[in-house]
């Protein structure tokens, strides 16, 4: 086990455990406001201090982790769920009509500045966690389609696939039974990377008010709220920011570690 894998795995598990724990227990309520106790620096009562409403920042971060992880995870799910079948289908009939159409659509989505489109989608359909998921998920589709197709194309030239073809299996069945298991490693590694990008994207969207809406806590909005308070109480901006950095860093290290452990030659995309 490499250092990356251990460190990344540990960091990521801390956040996942914190998010799960927040369903049953948080140090303090995230709804109870206590104005007399506002903007307090970290202390024994509030380990990470309090925000401008006197809410406990640690509790807010734990519940916020739930939002971040849920949005990024579902967005990766959308990307894999649609992108992988498209990539497999494109590779199964290389150069065919379907392949052309799928790859052109991919190029097109890549051409859109993802942030602008995310803003357009959430602006038009109203800001919500669901619309943030859709906006981020759409951009995961071409990433998964492209890497799946690339990996599948080289597999289609291998002997064991030819053997399967000779034995009379259909292209669809070969894609599902033989190609998919062989690209699984790549998908796991790429999934981790997209997960970390999703966390960053969610934070950005909720920072500009287009992610999860109050009263659901989210890391991005904690930073937006902190912006005007930053001179009075730097910790309200410092702590949520460092939390995002730690989570994204953890996922990136985990991704690198997984790649090295599974197969260092995997061709992942870093956008």
């Amino acid at each position: 086990m490499s250092r990356n894998l251990i460190l990344g795995g540990l960091l990521t598990s801390v956040f996942v455990v914190a998010a799960l724990l927040s369903f049953v227990w948080t140090p303090d309520s995230v709804e109870a406001m206590n104005i007399t106790n506002r903007l307090k620096p970290p202390s024994a009562n509030n380990l990470l201090g309090t925000d401008h409403f006197g809410r406990d920042i640690l509790s807010m971060l734990m519940v916020g982790a739930r939002t971040s992880i849920a949005v990024a995870l579902v967005a990766v799910g959308i990307g894999m769920g649609l992108g992988v079948p498209l990539g497999l289908a494109a590779a199964a009939r290389r150069g065919g009509m379907l392949d052309e159409v799928i790859m052109r659509m991919n190029d097109l989505i890549f051409a859109f500045p993802s942030l602008v489109i995310a803003i357009l989608i959430t602006a038009v359909f109203g800001p919500s966690a669901t619309n943030a998921i859709i906006a981020i998920g759409i951009f995961n589709i071409p990433v998964f389609a492209r890497i799946t197709r690339g990996a599948a194309l080289s597999l289609w030239k291998r002997e064991f696939i030819m053997a399967a073809q000779v034995s009379g299996k259909t292209r669809t069945r070969i894609s599902v039974e033989h190609i998919l298991p062989n690209v699984a490693n790549l998908l796991i590694v790429q999934g981790t990377i997209q997960f970390s990008l999703g966390i960053l994207a969610e934070a950005g969207l909720s920072y500009v008010g287009l992610g999860a809406q109050p009263p659901i806590p989210s890391w991005g909005r904690m930073l937006a709220d902190a912006q005007t308070m930053v001179s009075l109480a730097p910790h309200v901006a410092l702590i949520p920011g460092l939390t995002i950095v730690a989570m994204v860093l953890g996922l990136n290290l985990l991704g690198d570690g997984l790649r090295d452990a599974l197969d260092p030659r995997l061709k992942v995309v870093r956008a």
């Binding site: 190029d107 001179s231 860093l249």
Partner: protein, 315 residues
């Protein structure tokens, strides 16, 4: 080369058409009628109808799409629903902030990434390399808007070297404008510099394993001479591609950074337009940004093909 250009031009045109249709449709299905929104809930139905006619909202969707696209082709982006001023003028005004900001950030990111990437590649596996790669790991994990807030906290609030936000306007002097854009540009450049450093490093490492590099060493060049004379030039092609792509994304990425620093750029314009349901402005700004990205991609591809003939067959 000519055949390649024609093919790429056709696919460029298709991309632009599809993009414009997608943007138009998404904005079209937005709930809420701009005319009723502008006049408020107490407006008389006939006033709303009159305004709808004036804004051209009563025409068929197809006609409106054609007049929108036709207008943009002739430089007429329509009239803002809220301000009743030409959208093209509003965009041009805001471009004077967003474009210099993107260029400034791109320059910074290149100035950081080139030396850092070369430094790391030349010391592969050594402590210097580890430090640079570690820094890039951190760089890609930091949200740029949070980094921007930290810059404000340190350099504007604590040290008072810069103002915390706002833009004085270029007519008040070039350096004043540049000063106002410095912190935003640094915030915007950081993650891009991290990505670019990685590309620079790995591209150089690829080149260092090439046969011609061994030949360069064999004819008596030192490792450093070989790197500077032969390695760098060959490693630059993928790096330049990324720089081209980054410019387009910096323009779009500026949207959030402009919010942090209250800069009157395209980002502020788009958010204002969204809250006021000024859909024609939203539509046009988004189309413009998408157009910029598609054009830059196209030009990068052409430049690439001009340099490397092998790429012309791959469309």
């Amino acid at each position: 080369m000519l055949g390649y250009i024609v093919k790429r031009l056709i696919s460029l045109a298709i991309s632009l058409i599809v993009a414009s249709v997608v943007i138009f449709v998404v904005v079209e299905i937005a709930p809420g009628d701009p005319a009723s929104f502008m006049l408020g809930i107490n407006a008389q139905p006939d006033t709303v109808a009159a305004l709808r006619t004036e804004l051209g909202l009563d025409q068929s969707k197809f006609d409106r799409y054609l007049s929108w696209v036709g207008g943009m082709l002739t430089g007429d982006f329509g009239t803002s629903y809220t301000y009743r001023t030409p959208v093209a003028q509003m965009i041009v005004d805001r471009m004077w902030v967003s474009l210099p900001l993107a260029l400034f950030a791109l320059t910074l990111s290149t100035l950081i990434a080139f030396p850092a990437g070369i430094f790391a590649a030349a010391r592969r596996g050594g402590p210097g390399d580890l430090a640079v790669t570690g820094a890039t790991q951190l760089g890609v994990a930091i949200p740029n808007f949070w980094f921007a807030m930290m810059l404000v906290l340190i350099f504007a609030i604590q040290l008072r070297w810069f103002s915390a936000g706002g833009f004085p306007g270029w007519e008040k002097g070039f350096w004043g404008g540049m000063k106002a854009l410095t912190l935003p540009a640094i915030a915007l450049a950081l993650p891009q510099a991290a990505i670019l450093t990685r590309v620079m490093r790995s591209s150089l490492l690829d080149i260092l394993g090439e046969d011609f590099m061994r030949t360069a060493r064999a004819k008596g060049l030192s490792a450093r001479q070989a790197l500077w004379r032969h390695g760098l030039r060959n490693a630059l092609i993928p790096v330049l591609t990324i720089i081209g792509l980054q410019f387009a994304f910096l323009l779009a990425g500026a949207i959030i950074i402009e919010q942090v620093f209250f800069l009157p750029g395209l980002g502020r314009l788009i958010f204002q337009a969204i809250t006021q349901r000024d859909l024609i402005v939203v539509e046009s700004v988004v189309m413009l940004l998408v157009f910029a990205v598609i054009m830059v991609n196209f030009l990068v591809d052409l430049a690439y093909a001009a340099v490397d003939p092998r790429l012309r067959t791959r469309v």
